[in-house]
Subunit: 417 residues, 2 copies
């Protein structure tokens, strides 16, 4: 290890990503052991272990890794959210059991044999598809992120909310989404001239409904049937949902039931009373579908306590609704200087990309932050830039740079910097 | 749809993959509906649905999608296997709850705070790593397959075993595996000159132990801590396992406890009495680590019943321990002729790759099969070629072409062809 140059490349101890990729920087973290190999067997080696099972579950020691801040609006069973515990995860895939959820009237108990997808409106042939019928169509399967447009909305608060990374930012996740291109089904129905939008309705009691431009639908929308290899889970739209790569989660209508082809948007309750924001002149911004370029350091983050001064791995996720992540920079001096982070091998379009930096924490106060750039050249803005021109309380589509403060005793908190 | 050329490109109705990618071939599978949009709301739309939860589970309607043929050796709690239900899955990721398992003395209940990874033997500095210490090292995360070398071993039986695809071939799965490169930890310990192998021991009661060439370890072995974004599950090695991309699952020692650096293999019970096969001269083939190039049609497969004659999607998985899948061909006439299948967008190295073909089933008897080629030029062999030169009963590393017969009444069974 001694031969590697560990001269920082940015303020407050950030090390070159090439060093980090080639070798560890942890040094002292490994302890010498006097009697290596002569270690006595632990209790669990002295008896047979648990048997096989038909459905694996996580370790009881990981019971704290669960969806966070599960909350419903008072008086309802299912108008609310649950969040992905980003601070406990690594890599890019989100386990389906931890995928965030946002429901408007709970999770319907749909019988898949009775469920139909109906395509009607401005089409030559109105069609109805059972699950069995859909199974004969080509499936496209890609690993992509899904983000609620309300994600990170708490960051507009005047003072930083002291909550964990997952509570603040956990309305984002990445899965392999597999389904039938909606363009194939619409081609079969025959879209009439003049059609410009579709209206997608869900089969929940709230009948969540959103208007989506036909151009996006014909480009890459799918009727998703599979998530991470298995059928969608009920909380994510079983047996089928609309999936619009890179676009806000709410428009990816769950429990998809009807697609109506139209020449204009429907202006449903779900795109006017919600999921639209006012600018500072009081004008609503409607149909702000694509999610912006964004990154968050997940480790360390709010609620972590650092160990001894020395080398640490700083890790997080970056994504963009416009394409691939090209670059993530990390700062350890509150944005005074920046160093490029290393990106994991899989850098996929419209997907979470894991980044990692090596940081030699000197044991003093520090402010760490990350800044993503996508391959369209979009750069993640500061909090100030995001809020500029917005009315008070406008919280959708927040993608500002997140800063975490490390105190002199190693406590990590949420700060505005 | 009418304008697309659906002339078959290979025997018995296989269609060009470009047609399949551009549009559906299902045509008649979608039903006209008289009153599209006027459909009455189903029962589940008339009441609020289920509330949010901190740990999502699959739909009760998918209860049949579970690990298959869960079996233990009589008199033991945990010497046995459970298999991935490949026939119900799509895409490339295997949900962790359905990842196959193979244990030799059950699943140990390891306390992660007490568990240590010890590196000793031919090293300058024997080292001991807690989970906390490992967290400071760089992590590499990649989506890769894991296959038990005994997978598909049932195909050596003289007569085809009539079992499902998952029962026959379900000792393979793909996950995102994240962990610390073992080369980084060995560099820190300082490997002594003359070292050529490591011996990896597990912390189960069987103390599963395997020898692995140092060259592989320094190339791409990791100490895996994460699977599909969360910590490894107990059945897959919690809190850590060895992961050797492309190599047989048994050598990827679970519950990894010690790594001893050696100048020769240890010839443990787990690599001599098991996980080695005899050739026809009675000589054991030892240390046959890399998994061969292989593919399986998962849908339709044994136990499926076809619907009406007409267009179907044929789908399956292909993988190779040597690298990426370059090509998958599908035959519908028992190998008389072949057509290229379409590969899904993500074609990753040493990973499951999903392939799909369009097949116009004429309602008569047919034999469907797939043949994979990897980017090193290896072509999946026939069953006959695999068995040539092997002693009777030698079942490890079976990668022969799988054939499924479709009967005149649409019943799908396992056949040798």
């Amino acid at each position: 290890m001694a031969e590697l140059d560990q001269t920082p490349v940015a303020g407050n101890g950030l090390l070159d990503r090439r060093i980090f990729l080639k070798a560890g920087v942890a040094g002292g973290a490994a302890l010498l052991t006097a009697q290596a190999g002569g270690v006595e067997r632990e209790a669990w080696m002295k008896m047979p272990g648990a048997p096989m099972s038909d459905n694996g579950v996580p370790s009881a020691h990981e019971a704290h890794v669960k969806r966070l801040a599960v909350s419903s609006q008072p008086g309802t069973t299912g108008t609310g959210v649950s969040r992905t515990p980003l601070e406990f995860l690594d890599g890019l895939i989100t386990p389906s059991r931890l995928h965030f959820e946002r429901h408007h009237s709970g999770i319907p108990d749909i019988n898949p044999d009775e469920h139909r997808l109906v395509i009607h409106g401005m089409v030559e042939r109105p069609l109805s598809f059972s699950l069995e019928a859909l199974a004969r169509y080509p499936i496209k399967s890609r690993i992509q992120f899904l983000e609620c447009s309300g994600n990170s909305g708490g960051l507009i608060a005047p003072e930083p909310i002291q909550q964990s990374c997952g509570v603040l930012h956990g309305l984002v996740a990445a899965s392999e989404w597999g389904g039938v291109p909606l363009s194939v089904l619409l081609d079969e129905a025959g879209v009439k001239p003049g059609a410009k939008w579709i209206i997608a309705d869900g089969a929940d009691a709230a009948m969540m409904s959103r208007s989506v431009p036909l151009a996006k639908v014909m480009d890459d929308a799918i009727v998703a049937l599979y998530q991470n290899g298995e059928r969608l889970r009920p909380g994510n739209g079983y047996p089928m949902r609309l999936f619009l790569p890179g676009w806000e989660g709410n428009a990816c209508v769950k429990w998809l039931r009807t697609i109506k082809v139209m020449n204009q948007p429907a202006m449903t309750k779900d795109e006017t009373s919600k999921y639209s924001d006012l600018n500072e002149e009081g004008i609503a911004r409607l149909f702000t579908f694509p999610m912006g370029v964004k990154s968050i350091i997940t480790n360390p983050s709010h609620g972590f306590t650092m160990g001894p001064a020395g080398p640490y791995q700083v890790s997080g996720i970056a994504w963009s609704g416009s394409g691939r992540i090209r670059r993530v920079e990390v700062s350890a001096d509150g944005g005074g200087s920046w160093a490029d982070a290393a990106l994991d091998e899989h850098v996929l379009s419209r997907c979470l990309t894991r980044f990692r930096s090596a940081w030699r924490w000197d044991g003093g106060p520090a402010v760490i932050m990350s800044r993503a750039t996508d391959d369209a050249g979009n750069v993640q803005p500061t909090r100030r830039a995001v809020l500029e021109g917005r009315a008070n309380g406008a919280f959708y589509h927040y993608n500002g740079i997140q800063a975490w403060a490390v105190s002199a005793v190693g406590e990590v908190t949420n700060v505005y910097a």
